[in-house]
């Protein structure tokens, strides 16, 4: 066993083992739980740093062992997985810090943080998976580990949302399994390969190639919340704010979107998928989702609900970019994986602060909150502008690339959709910004937390500010050599070089 084969499972273990130990803790052991959490998250950050160093120096990290029926359990680090790993690791760390503050007065904290760790293990597993079978295992593990988080509050509404969540994701998982099994039946067990593995099958199994693609994309589309499979997402926002943040930014929807990216680039191969004409339907589906999600967001008066619909819309940018052939749009798609994550997590963090500190959930209640919680409101403003696509916040860079990529592929409607979506995003985000800063409040909103905190607890506040700064920095320094954009471009080049 060399370091290169031991590192990937080790990275998974940091959160998995942490989770198991946390399960064993008593509710009252706040300090121990927080310490364990932070040690786990910290360790993971260090290991991922080593991993990045290794990958940059040309080492291949791969862990493979056989399971039944000739399947391999394969963990492998390529640049694409690195993208999601970095996102998960950093945002897990941030969200953990945030959640320690946010959840302090909740019941069943050991259960909560235990599953929280499991959830991150699963999402890193999704990133590390080197073939469809391994991907599927972690994908389902993700479903199961997030369910307890969604229903954490235990209220009637939460349980109902949990049911809906399970119906959707388990059905999606079952269908995905059929797709994976069917494909494996045709190709035998194969690893993810840039350029794809399906090309040889076209002559003998033409129909199957199409049907399997549809099955894979649609089943993954459940978690990626493609319309009309998105019904679970707005309901699931009853979960506590850190969970929503994680669900919307890193874990569940990202797993779906990431899966779609994997299928298009590493199973079918983008050139092949384009050649057989299956990409355009994906792009169209994504475009419909983008517009539909935004239109629905307009109708929501509850902040978290509006954010949830915004996620429906924004995650589909990733799918749209993946569904448009060309280096530029792929870059946009991949970079949006990161950008959407940091911007959306900021927005949910802010929503959590408004709810926790002031008990405000409805948008109209946020009147003048900018005066009482200036940093939170500023963070929200930055992220909201990013979502609209106002430069120089990160969201603009994604839109820029996907839009220009649309031209490159000869799909002129792509930038049109993006611009329409920007208008709609402005229509539902700018009123919030306006209400927060410019409408006067009759009397200050009572602070529900201990009086010594200014606008909220420091752990929550500074994590929120940090993610907002990330969102801004990712855009402002987009052309810096170590920006998310640079990484995304590197990956896109690899994906197309082989094609």
């Amino acid at each position: 066993m060399t370091l290169t084969s031991i590192l990937p499972p080790l990275i998974l273990a940091t959160s998995f083992v942490t989770g198991i130990f946390i399960f064993l803790l008593d509710q009252k052991q706040f300090v121990a739980r927080a310490t364990l959490n932070l040690i786990g998250a910290g360790f993971k950050v260090i290991l991922v740093a080593i991993l990045i160093y290794g990958v940059l120096n040309g080492h291949d990290f791969e862990t493979r062992f056989h399971i039944v029926l000739g399947f391999d359990f394969l963990l492998r680090v390529d640049l694409l997985s690195l993208l999601l790993i970095v996102l998960s690791t950093v945002l897990w760390f941030v969200t953990t810090v945030y959640a320690i503050g946010y959840m302090h007065d909740h019941a069943e904290l050991s259960r909560f943080f235990g599953f929280f760790s499991m959830c991150v293990t699963a999402s890193v597993g999704v990133a590390l998976a080197g073939n469809l079978v391994t991907f599927f295992i972690f994908y389902e593990f993700l479903t199961l580990s997030t369910y307890p988080l969604v229903i954490h509050k235990g209220t009637e509404e939460a349980l109902k949302a949990g049911r809906t969540y399970l119906w959707y994701t388990l059905t999606g998982g079952a269908v995905l399994f059929v797709g994976v099994a069917w494909m494996t039946d045709l190709t035998g067990p194969v690893d993810f390969t840039p350029g794809g593995v399906m090309e040889g099958l076209l002559d003998d199994h033409r129909i199957e190639v199409y049907v399997i693609f549809a099955i894979l994309i649609l089943s993954l589309g459940v978690k990626a919340a493609l319309v009309p499979l998105h019904g679970w997402l707005p309901v699931a926002m009853v979960a506590p704010a850190p969970v929503s943040a994680l669900l919307h930014a890193v874990a569940v929807v990202k797993a779906g979107a990431f899966g779609i990216v994997r299928v298009i680039y590493d199973v079918y191969g983008v050139a092949f998928a384009h050649a057989i004409g299956v990409l355009t339907p994906v792009a169209v589906l994504a475009a419909v989702t983008i517009l539909y999600g935004s239109l629905r967001a307009l109708q929501q008066s509850d902040l978290k609900k509006r954010l949830a619909y915004s996620t429906v819309s924004q995650v589909s940018y990733i799918v749209l970019g993946a569904g448009v052939i060309g280096l530029i749009s792929t870059t946009g798609s991949l970079v949006h994986l990161i950008h959407q994550g940091i911007m959306k997590i900021t927005l949910f963090f802010c929503a959590g602060i408004f709810e926790k500190s002031f008990g405000l959930k409805r948008i109209s209640d946020l009147k003048g909150i900018g005066k009482q919680a200036p940093l939170t409101a500023a963070a929200f403003t930055i992220a909201a502008f990013g979502m609209i696509g106002v430069p120089p916040v990160a969201g603009f860079v994604s839109k820029w690339y996907i839009g220009l990529g649309g031209f490159d592929a000869g799909m002129e409607w792509v930038p049109v959709v993006l611009i329409l979506s920007s208008l709609l995003n402005a229509a539902y985000f700018l009123p919030i910004v306006h209400v927060m800063w410019f409408v006067e409040r009759d009397e200050p909103a009572p602070l529900l937390l201990r009086p010594r905190s200014v606008e909220t607890m420091p752990t929550m506040l500074w994590t929120t500010v940090a993610t907002a700064v990330f969102s801004l920095g990712a855009g402002v320094f987009a052309y810096w050599d170590f920006s998310p954009l640079a990484l995304a471009r590197e990956i896109a080049e690899i994906l197309y070089r082989s094609a």
Partner: protein
């Protein structure tokens, strides 16, 4: 220096939020923040571009002679407006916020002038647009909120159109440098779409007719120093956008030229017609800005018809913008000064200054306005076809119209200033205005030789002077006559500010009804959700009974045992298979 010019206002914007300093410290800092920009504008020019590949999408900053003129009047206006704002906001409890937004918008305005690549330009344009929203709604009353809503809706639509145009251009461009884009546009297969999008997108900011509705609403409700920069400086950002993104000097299009000239003419005269019916001084000024931007639009149209003449037209256009920007800023600031006049002398002084600035815009002799109007009528001869002759006298007519409009403005300000202010204004109000007025009076005389602009400075020849005198004279006569006839009548209801906006608000309401927005519908509208559907099927009594029967049976020990053994056998078989 370029970075400092942008960064200093930006950084100081955040310093403004500090509670530890008073309004006068903010005033001084705000004024000082314009110094680097002023320095650059007055400097030798033609400095090397500063490329920062790592910043944003590869940012590049620099300054050419045209943008140097833009930078000069912009910096002057913001500097005096900042000084003025300190006096204007004494005792206002939210002056921190005002200065914060004010300086953010300023840094956006400087940034977009210094930007040499399209992404950076667009970024600073957006920074300016969105911070200016805060200035428009600053007073926080329903009128300001309405104006703000109109402003932001139109501005966002404008931004979207600009982005569309930029997408179309960049698709074919070798890079993002603004200087290369005109050629790209002229070659583009979608040239007409690009031109339309650019025209409309920046037209929102430039107050192009049809997209001008926000100006008469927003300019009056904003605090006076903000109106001054909105109407004097920020409006010119739209013009600069046109200059950058339209295929100027690279392409001839008589059709577009005709359209643009026509739009300009409609603005030049239409805005005056609506403007004279207004009863609020700042609203009239907003309409006057629309009208003057219309005149500049005409020149733009001429430039689009004759690529060879473009450099000449451009320099005239630039100096015209310079002249109008300073004078219009001075007029806006002067409204506040006249309002604050506590004595007869103060009032008369203020009115005299206002009259001087108004004369400059109308083009009375010896003012900067006369020089730029003369220069403009010279380049008009490049206009295509029969336009040239018509435009010459239309320009004269426009000068007459402007005189009438601004005369009306002076009357209204004077009438209002009769009622004396109770308290004397802070002296810096007067200082700021004096600076501004001086700049407006001598600006063109200084700028033309300073930037070596190819525009003749008039001698004292009688003929030249006469050309400038008579339109203004006719305007004054017309106004006097009109005033004599209508003064006795009761004040009639003018056209509501924003004129054609009425046509659109109905549409907005309709859309709102069609798609229930949050405020009207709440979040009760149902969603596609298969969850409850499945629940209903699964939970139906019959199915449940059947299920529980099956489950009961499965739990009987013999069944469970048999199943267990069966599964075990299958597993073993599978395992053996894989071993082999």
């Amino acid at each position: 220096m370029a970075l400092l010019a942008i960064y200093l206002p930006f950084a100081l914007a955040f310093a403004m939020l500090w509670r530890g300093i008073g309004v006068h410290a903010r005033q001084v800092l705000s004024t000082l923040s314009a110094l680097p920009a002023l320095w650059m504008a007055m400097g030798p020019g033609g400095t090397d571009s500063l490329a920062m590949e790592w910043l944003f999408l590869g940012a590049q900053f620099g300054l050419d002679s045209v943008r140097q003129v833009f930078l000069l009047f912009t910096a002057i206006l913001w500097a005096v407006a900042g000084l003025y704002a300190g006096a204007y906001l004494v005792g206002h409890r939210r002056d921190r916020i005002f200065f914060f937004l004010f300086l953010l918008a300023f840094s956006g305005n400087v940034g977009l002038i210094l930007a040499e690549d399209v992404a950076t330009f667009y970024t600073f344009f957006a920074l300016m647009t969105f911070s200016a929203y805060g200035l428009v709604v600053f007073d926080g009353n329903p009128r300001a909120f309405r104006a703000g809503r109109v402003y932001i809706v139109m501005a966002v639509i404008g931004e979207a159109m600009i982005l569309g145009a930029i997408f179309l251009i960049v698709r074919d461009a070798p890079g993002l440098l603004l200087a290369d884009l005109a050629a790209v546009v002229s070659e583009s297969p979608l040239r007409d779409v690009i031109i339309a999008l650019t025209l409309a997108g920046f037209g929102v900011k430039a107050g192009m007719i049809g997209l001008h509705m926000w100006l008469p609403l927003a300019h009056p409700v904003a605090p006076t120093p903000a109106s001054a920069v909105l109407s004097g400086a920020m409006i010119k950002a739209g013009l600069l956008g046109w200059i950058h993104l339209l295929p100027m000097g690279a392409h001839t299009s008589e059709a577009w030229s005709g359209i643009i000239i026509t739009l300009g003419l409609v603005a030049a005269f239409g805005a005056v017609v609506v403007g004279v019916t207004q009863s609020d001084a700042k609203t009239i000024l907003a309409y006057s800005s629309i009208s003057q931007m219309g005149v500049m639009t005409i020149a733009l149209g001429v430039g689009l018809a004759e690529p060879e003449a473009w450099p000449v037209v451009l320099s005239v256009l630039t100096i015209y913008a310079f002249s109008h920007g300073l004078a219009k800023g001075t007029l806006f600031l002067g409204v506040g000064v006249a309002d604050a006049a506590a004595s007869r002398t103060a009032r008369l002084t203020a009115m005299a200054g206002l009259a001087l600035a108004a004369a400059a815009i109308a083009g009375a002799p010896m003012t900067g306005g006369a020089i730029v109007k003369k220069a403009l009528s010279d380049v008009i001869s490049f206009a295509p076809g029969t336009w040239a002759d018509r435009l010459e006298w239309l320009l004269v007519a426009s000068a007459i119209a402007t005189t009438v409009l601004l005369g009306r403005f002076l009357q209204i300000v004077d009438a209002k200033a009769q009622k004396r202010a109770e308290k004397r204004a802070h002296p810096s109000l007067w200082w700021a205005w004096t600076f501004s007025l001086t700049a407006a009076a001598i600006g063109v005389w200084v700028a033309v030789p300073l930037f070596a602009i190819d525009v003749p400075l008039p001698g004292l020849a009688v003929a030249d002077t006469w050309d400038a005198v008579w339109p203004v004279g006719v305007g004054v006569l017309l106004l006097t006559g009109w005033w004599g006839v209508f003064r006795k009548r009761a004040v009639h209801r003018g056209i509501p500010a924003g004129d054609v906006l009425v046509l659109f608000t109905g549409g907005g309401r309709l859309m709102r009804r069609f798609w229930h927005f949050a405020e009207t519908a709440g979040s009760a509208t149902p969603e596609i959700n298969f969850g409850p559907l499945v629940d209903r099927v699964v939970e139906s009594e019959r199915k449940r009974a059947a299920m529980s029967r099956i489950e009961r049976n499965l739990m009987r020990s013999e069944v469970a045992g048999a199943c267990f053994v069966m599964l075990l056998v299958i597993m073993i078989i599978l395992l053996i298979q894989t071993m082999v």
